[in-house]
């Protein structure tokens, strides 16, 4: 299969501190992949490199074969990558519907069209009852959902989800998992997620990449990863589940 996203030997350091060291991996088209690792492993930094927030010191990021390394975040979005933020970033003074409309305007010809599309995404993420509320007044789980709705509304080929399940109840997690899976099946979306909620990771992902101290230490199918001694050690070493 052709990889939709290809990360090739990406390194990034901040003031001499190596945050990512020669990381490479692929995400196949229509696949759901997860990026896991202890805190400070460099997962979010890698997301930011892919999304254009940071330019890598070395290495390249390709989307569908095209080199998108070093492009601005808005250009990356146009290239077909939608992302969420770990620390959610709602447009606080706008309503929930307006938040998503901003994203939907991306592919819409008019505001009315974007608004209609936005309502669809709100329904999908079970936010339709909150449409008229100001985003500032949402609960954290709802803000996480809003992040996902907004990223989806830009009509991406690849969706980057940064800890969107954190803070959700197990039943809510399951619903979110089902939604994402359905999206992939129905629209051919490709998903790459950072997640600490292993319940979601195991249920969703077909392939897992493990980062530790900025380096890829393991990669493969979920069943294999959970038995990989290197992975277990890095988690146990950091006193995390």
């Amino acid at each position: 299969m052709v990889p939709l996203l290809r990360v090739e030997g990406v390194s990034k350091s901040f003031r001499g501190l190596l945050a990512l060291n020669d990381v490479s991996f692929d995400v196949v088209e229509r696949g759901i992949a997860a990026l896991i690792g202890p805190n400070g492993a460099g997962k979010t930094t890698l997301f930011n490199v892919i999304a254009g927030v940071f330019r890598p010191d070395r290495g390249a990021v390709r989307l569908g074969g095209a080199d998108i390394t070093g492009r601005r975040p808005d250009q990356i979005c146009h290239a077909g990558i939608g992302r969420t933020f770990q620390l959610v970033k709602p447009f606080a003074q706008m309503t929930v519907l307006e938040n998503v409309t901003v994203a939907a305007l991306h592919g819409a010809r008019s505001v009315a069209e974007a608004k209609a599309a936005a309502r669809g995404f709100l329904e999908l993420l079970e936010l339709d009852t909150r449409a008229g509320q100001h985003a500032a007044n949402l609960t954290l789980p709802d803000r996480k959902r809003l992040e996902v709705a907004r990223a989806l509304a830009t009509g991406p080929r690849l969706l980057l989800l940064d800890e969107v399940m954190a803070g959700l109840r197990p039943s809510e997690t399951d619903r979110m998992v089902a939604t994402l899976r359905r999206l992939r099946d129905e629209t051919g979306l490709t998903i790459l997620l950072i997640e600490h909620v292993m319940r979601a990771v195991m249920a969703l992902s077909e392939r897992i990449t493990v980062l530790h101290h900025g380096e890829k230490i393991s990669e493969g199918a979920p069943e294999r990863i959970v038995r990989d001694p290197a992975v277990l050690e890095c988690y146990l070493g950091d006193q995390e589940p």
């Binding site: 999304a51 927030v53 601005r72 975040p73 808005d74 979005c77 146009h78 939608g82 992302r83 933020f85 970033k89 709602p90 447009f91 606080a92 003074q93 706008m94 307006e98 938040n99 409309t101 901003v102 994203a103 305007l105 991306h106 505001v111 974007a114 008229g132 907004r150 990223a151 830009t154």
Partner: protein, 348 residues
């Protein structure tokens, strides 16, 4: 018609009635208002126009300008100069004048964004440019330098209507500035509901998230700066031909820039009607204070010789302090809510 529809859609029945009554009163004002009332009303609309322009930049796009006097002043000086040097009527001169204001706005904006100067630093950049231009104009003889730049005006000019040359009776100026201020309001309403408005508000609330959604920050911020400085430039052209005298110390004074912010803060930064509502409160209030003092002097309650120059500004700024402390979202949203002027869910 569509524009009117767009404008009315957020208003409740009560809001429409109140708006209609206000509009009629304001349209008929010249028939019963004294020349003093006319002057005050003209000032209100003028400040509303400048305030609307300032609010577009901060309230819609999140860019704090404390240099709006610069854009107004450039519009004023450019149109006045073109008029007296080559006889270009302001109706045409407004085009190059506004273009120049926009150009300067774009230059400041580009420098600010290119070098990632945000927040208060951007405000300082606008101040620095405004002050720089003020001092430069102070030294340009063909702009009158510190002596001031004067437009010729004859007694005959005080009658009739000559819109092309902006010469005529006080009523003409009043209706013109009213049309401009309301036009700016309609324009802002339209922009706010358009793609541009959505993008601006997103950038204002969170630039990083906006960028991740595909919004080109530089481009849309530049649009905001261009439209805002252009509106201020139009106000400047009006100012030049209404006042007929321009002094750098007055036109480009930082107090003018701060004045441009007051109405919006009182009314509500980022709201549509905030700037005009705020100036409708502040300007008459300022006049009330001035008149009250004069009356007190007349009645010899206070010594007529006392100088009370700063009192109006003192009252204004005190109100602004109170607003920032106790109602930082401004009075308009609150009034709207209290009087049910807008339909539920509609933005004011």
């Amino acid at each position: 018609m569509k524009a009117i529809d767009l404008f009315l859609s957020p208003l409740s029945a009560a809001g429409r009635w109140l708006g209609a009554v206000l509009l009629v009163v304001l349209l008929l004002l010249p028939y019963w208002g004294s020349s003093y009332v006319m002057t005050v009303a003209t000032t209100v609309f003028y400040l509303a126009l400048v305030g609307q322009s300032w609010n577009l930049m901060l309230g819609f796009a999140g860019l704090l300008s404390i240099g709006h006097a610069l854009f107004v002043g450039v519009g004023a000086y450019a149109s006045a100069y073109l008029f007296s040097a080559i006889g270009l009527p302001p109706a045409i001169g407004v085009v190059p004048a506004v273009a120049l204001a926009v150009l300067i706005g774009l230059l400041i904006g580009y420098l600010g964004f290119r070098f990632a100067i945000g927040g208060v630093y951007f405000a300082l950049l606008t101040i620095a440019f405004a002050e720089f231009v003020r001092i430069v104009v102070d030294h340009v003889p063909w702009l009158g330098a510190t002596e001031g730049f004067f437009l010729k005006v004859s007694a005959a000019d005080r009658h009739g209507i000559d819109l092309a040359n902006l010469r005529g009776a006080p009523e003409m100026y009043y209706y013109l500035i009213m049309a401009l201020a309301l036009g700016a309001l309609v324009l802002c309403r339209y922009l706010l509901r358009s793609r541009l408005g959505y993008y601006w508000q997103a950038i204002r609330d969170d630039p990083e998230a906006a960028e991740a959604l595909g919004i080109n920050l530089l481009r849309y911020r530049m649009y905001a700066v261009a439209i805002s400085s252009g509106m201020a430039g139009v106000a400047g052209v009006f100012y030049a031909f209404y006042q007929n005298s321009l002094f750098p110390e007055i036109v480009f004074n930082i107090e003018r820039s701060i004045e441009a912010t007051l109405g919006s803060i009182v009314g509500g930064v980022g709201t549509l009607f905030g700037p005009i509502f705020g100036t409708f409160i502040l300007t008459p209030l300022g006049e009330f204070v001035t008149e009250g003092i004069d009356l007190l002097k007349h009645w010899r309650v206070i010594d007529p010789e006392t100088k009370l120059d700063g009192l109006k500004l003192l009252v204004w700024s005190f109100i602004v302090v109170l607003i920032v402390l106790f109602k930082p979202t401004g009075l308009w949203p609150w009034v709207c809510h209290r009087l049910r002027l807008t339909r539920p869910g509609a933005e004011g």
